[in-house]
């Protein structure tokens, strides 16, 4: 081990880690929008809307992310659309994460006791009011720990977008490995960055979980 290789490339790795974080953040946020939409669709009374959302979840949870990324890449090229690799990468991450987030949000909504909505109806709350003041605040609260967990998984999965040529942490460490002939040090450096980010995220998750446990009776 030549630790000076890691120290020399520290700046590049830190920059790449920022790109990884930015891509993951964009992916999880866009995924949340997709997931929230699909969750609403899954709970819809129209059977075909619910079924469509169910197919979305099943397909995007079933297809490996690497296959999905390449598919988006080639799919758009087939129709002559020259989409930048970055957009394809974020889109792929968001579509995949959206399917998982659909189920997280659905589970959280189901975890809110039925009696709460019934009590609200009995007290004369209107439909939108029940959603805004009773169901959503509690469901979002319940969904925060699993959403943080999903973010950690997404951050690790974002290493796969290196195959479409985006200069994130994994790609940059590959470049450093080929330039310095020191793959061991380059990948240990990248692993340390991933680990540091994930430990911070896991810490936030633990904190959120404890605080929410305090709030709930």
């Amino acid at each position: 081990m030549h630790l000076e290789v890691i120290l020399h490339s520290f700046g590049y790795l830190a920059q790449a880690a920022a790109v990884t974080l930015a891509i993951s953040l964009a992916g999880i946020l866009l995924g949340f929008v997709i997931g929230a939409g699909a969750c609403v669709a899954r709970l819809s009374r129209r059977v075909w809307v619910a079924a469509l959302a169910g197919v979305y979840v099943s397909v995007f949870r079933g297809v490996p992310l690497l296959v999905l990324l390449l598919f988006i890449y080639y799919f758009l090229a087939e129709f002559g659309l020259d989409v930048p690799a970055l957009a394809a990468a974020i889109g792929g991450l968001a579509l995949s994460s959206g399917a998982y987030q659909t189920e997280i949000l659905r589970g959280a909504l189901n975890a809110v006791p039925k009696g709460q909505a019934e009590a609200a109806v009995a007290l004369g709350f209107t439909g939108p009011e029940i959603w805004r003041r009773i169901l959503l605040p509690q469901a979002l609260r319940i969904s925060i720990p699993p959403l943080i967990n999903e973010f950690i998984l997404l951050l690790k999965a974002s290493s796969l977008v290196s195959v479409v040529g985006i200069a994130e942490l994994t790609r940059v460490s590959m470049n450093i490995a080929t330039m310095t002939y020191r793959p061991l040090e380059a990948y240990v450096g990248a692993a340390l960055f991933y680990l540091a980010i994930n430990l911070v995220l896991a810490g936030c998750g633990g904190l959120a979980e404890r605080r929410l446990a305090e709030g709930a009776r």
Binding site: S58, V59, G62, V67, L68, Y74, K156, S158, A191, L195
Partner: protein
């Protein structure tokens, strides 16, 4: 994609499928075995050992599988570990998943009610008998659903092995796509194939889960 392309490439696709299943099976078995040993070592409660195992689990769960693979395959030779792509892939899958399996088994052990172990001791069972006849069966039943779930996740991770040139299905499909200019069709077929594989495995998993919980309910009934 014309059918004759598929027929022409059938042998390489079939062998790729075989490699995928082999990597999945051997890697998964290795991960379960290693994870089980780690969970048992956790139970010894030797502080330095527990600490070291904790670091192992956190490192392998906190870093991407792809980076771990690169480290093993490209970095390995620098510390005297020279492996073929397939060997590195199987070993990588095993070690990576062992961290997850260890946590699954640990949770399984934690799920066995303390009262059962106390009851076993109070009727005079030896510690060895208590472990083999009370703790282990209970822990394994509790761990079955998450194990099946992890195996499904692992089946999707095998695709990543194509990046370090393990000749599994994804790799063969990409070779075919490059040689015949059928990138779109090949990737589409891949997506459909893995979706079916994951759906089928999940379905089998749910049946196993249903049987396990049915067994638990039977156990819970008063005699």
């Amino acid at each position: 994609m014309s059918l004759d392309v598929l027929i022409r490439y059938a042998p390489s696709l079939i062998s790729g499928f075989g490699v995928t299943v082999m990597c999945w099976g051997v890697g998964g078995a290795l991960g379960i075995a290693l994870g089980f040993v780690i969970a048992l070592l956790f139970r010894l409660r030797i502080a330095p050992l527990t600490w070291a195992l904790r670091v192992f689990v956190e490192v392998f769960r906190g870093t991407p599988f792809l980076v771990q693979l690169f480290l093993l395959y490209a970095g390995g030779p620098y510390i005297g570990l020279r492996l073929s792509a397939t060997a590195a892939g199987v070993l990588g899958l095993g070690v990576y998943s062992s961290a997850y399996f260890a946590e699954i088994f640990r949770a399984g052990f934690a799920a066995v009610p303390v009262g059962q172990i106390e009851a076993a001791m109070s009727v005079g069972m030896t510690p060895r008998d208590t472990l083999l006849r009370v703790t282990l069966p209970g822990a394994l039943i509790a761990a079955t659903p998450p194990i099946v779930n992890m195996l499904v996740v692992l089946s999707k991770e095998t695709v990543v092995l194509s990046i370090i040139t393990v000749p599994e299905l994804m790799y063969q499909m990409q070779t075919m796509a490059a040689e015949t200019f059928t990138a779109f069709d090949s990737i589409f077929a891949m997506a459909a194939f893995y979706w079916l594989l994951v759906e089928a495995t999940s379905r089998v998993g749910r049946r196993v889960e249903a049987r396990v919980t049915a067994f638990l309910q039977e156990e819970a009934k008063p005699a």
